[in-house]
Symmetry: C2
Subunit: 158 residues, 2 copies
């Protein structure tokens, strides 16, 4: 896909590294290495990671696990969501449903996700194209294609 590479600030890169740390720890647990953090007022509010392997839970992707960890919130309008991988359709729908307005995405090379659909729904998406995120995900897909293609339900496009 050829989205333009939007500018990420230094704080964005720092928080993306925190999402990457979640992905890395997930990988070390044998899980799908996708991590996420939610940030409000310059502070990490919640962290999450894909838990398909760790908890046998297909709906706990990085983003949904992070939304769960944040608990009940009155509003998501002032929250930035950082995720290492471009969001699948479930997580895209969650972002739109809860009204998160800004998402920073590590990469969309290993999985295109739904960046354009988020933008079409007035979500500000920054695509970082981060080397570490790309490398970790590519390594996992090479090592465990069975888990990865099951996680995306055999669908490489959404």
């Amino acid at each position: 896909m050829s989205y333009k590479k939007e500018s990420a600030g230094s704080a964005d890169i720092m928080f993306l590294r925190e999402a990457y740390q979640e992905a890395l720890e997930g990988y070390q647990q044998g899980g799908v290495p996708v991590g996420a953090v939610m940030v409000r007022n310059g502070k990490v509010l919640a962290r999450g990671r894909n838990k398909r392997v760790q908890e046998g839970d297909p709906v706990m992707h990085g983003e949904t696990d992070c939304l769960r960890s944040a608990g009940i919130l009155a509003s998501y309008q002032d929250i930035d969501l950082y995720t290492t991988l471009s969001p699948c359709m479930m997580c895209t729908g969650a972002i739109i449903h809860f009204g998160v307005k800004r998402v920073v995405v590590g990469e969309d090379v290993n999985f295109p996700g739904n960046i354009q659909y988020l933008r079409d729904n007035d979500v500000d998406v920054v695509l970082v194209d981060d080397e570490e995120c790309k490398k970790l995900m590519a390594q996992f897909i090479e090592e465990r294609p069975d888990i990865w293609y099951e996680d995306i339900a055999g669908n490489e496009k959404v």
Copy 2:
């Protein structure tokens, strides 16, 4: 909204009643009364209900809780999902992501959801327009508008 009312078979009505039972028990727990069941080969494979109140978990809607309960599945192509209320964007995205091909919806009067978007993504949607589903949801919204509008993040349209 004015979707055509498609024909639901007697088995559909029976399984929708099981989803309604989940919604009713959720209501009796003080929760948002949305229930779901997943059916494969004429048998209920998994059950779910909205657990925002019961577990303080914003991502456990009827459909996502049901997908979680089903655990890890190789494929969702032969599964019918029954839900008492038209799916929000998160649950719509989950249905599309996992490749569920048929969804039976109790009603879309209290919440329009995303029936057309599901159909645009090749999901066969049957809208029952069920009186019990409509009545229970309307009662909850009247009694606890605070919880309901928080559950849909203040957005009555998606």
